[in-house]
Symmetry: C2
Subunit: 230 residues, 2 copies
DNA sequence: TAGGCCATGTGGTCCAACCACATCAACTAC
DNA sequence: GTAGTTGATGTGGTTGGACCACATGGCCTA
């Protein structure tokens, strides 16, 4: 086993055993190296991996905000992994979009009608309805948050994380696609209407209809922008 | 931007531009360090991350099998990320099981009835039907491969990768659960019957029924073994 | 008492050296 | 001439040490 993997398993064991929890701090790199009888380089490689996995955050300086602290950001890990594999062209964008549709439709069907996240979603829709209109960039940023709020409403952390990561992996792609749209204003108006219909369906407890609307909403956008969504 | 991230983005750019593809080899660490005007340490940290993401594989020695070559194993990245976050207890196992059910039910419904992966699935079922019986470990290993074959049949690489990673993340958990079963032989017999029914439904083109059977199959197993699957 | 300054501890980066390993070519013994 | 051995070469793996940038907190001075 390579040295940094030894460090990795040690840390994972500490996590599993509960001796290290979110918010806690890892020992300093130098002392951890001495404790495990390995070089600081190997400790750093392990920490680098954990950082990429969204498990820790490294901060310089001293004081409570410094050092390497345990966090939990699964979305970051899944997102960069997906993005990299999209770059290798072994994960077609169409498959990502299709997966997003299936996850988000499920979430819309599953979300309880009184989920608190739906209130956030409603507030976001209100912001998008600004009478003076919004720049496309701002609109899309709110759009992302609306869809994530919807996914979170289902209450499944894994689905939420995967949704976020799929979004992140194709974020650049989606931004590029909007430039293909023939008439942004018309599209924005349609998206707004569909958003309200989706939220209303969830609020009415009509999960089946909500799922259908979500599927049509996402697939419609990508088709209009010129990507076959499967 | 930290130095290793510079290396990371350089490599990602090479991948996106197609100058680096699966099967290709990265420049040697020392030459890459010189080329990017950074230390070998930073190059190594970047490669470590890519390795954890399932994007490259590092091999010592010389010759065609050595050096750092580009691969594409998204399952590895997603799997270890999920496993780590399960260790932090911020991803409940129940959510993972629920996600697995939803993905696999979708795959069963979506799989074309003449998908070649179904032949592999059938062969696996045959092996599990061995008249002399199988040790629980062997049975479960075949079971894993059957479910993955089913997921692959849907033809969505992202769903396949996620399925595999979910399996990997809770693999240790599932193995532990089997010891809770009151009567392994009876359970194995039931699982076999259900497997055949699922495959038959897919083969008949009855996706809706296949999805229902898959959901009941997985949830039934976890319930019997003592985990609430949501 | 208020302000600045420095000791301390953290991660970030770099360098130089050495090791283990796998290949391949040159060399040697037959 | 052939087969086996051996060493050169190039790869990643690991180590120790040095120095830097940064943030804090206590000490010292005005």
């Amino acid at each position: 086993m390579r040295t940094h993997q030894l460090v990795l398993t040690w840390i994972e064991d500490q996590l599993s055993a509960g001796r290290l929890a979110v918010g806690g701090r890892l020992p300093a790199e130098r002392s951890l190296a001495e404790q495990l009888k390995v070089s600081r380089t190997s400790v750093r490689e392990a920490i680098r991996i954990l950082e990429a996995m969204g498990v820790v955050r490294a901060g310089v300086g001293s004081g409570p905000e410094s050092g390497t602290v345990v966090i939990s950001d699964p979305t970051a890990a899944l997102g960069s992994a997906l993005r990299l594999h999209v770059a290798t062209q072994h994960l077609p964008v169409a498959d990502i979009v299709e997966t997003r549709v299936l996850l988000e439709a499920w979430a819309a069907a599953k979300a309880p009608r009184d989920a608190p996240e739906l209130d956030s979603a409603a507030a976001l829709l209100e912001a998008m309805d600004a009478p003076e209109g919004l720049p496309a960039g701002d609109f899309l940023a709110l759009d992302v948050r609306f869809h994530l709020a919807l996914a979170n409403a289902a209450g499944n952390t894994v689905v939420s994380a995967m949704m976020g990561s799929l979004r992140e992996a194709i974020q650049g792609y989606a931004a590029e696609l909007t430039s293909n749209l023939p008439d942004w204003e018309a599209t924005a108006t349609r998206l707004r209407t569909e958003h309200h219909a989706i939220l209303a369906a969830v609020r009415n407890g009509d999960g089946g209809r909500a799922a259908e609307l979500v599927s049509a909403h996402i697939e419609g956008f990508y088709k209009e922008a010129g990507l076959a969504a499967g």
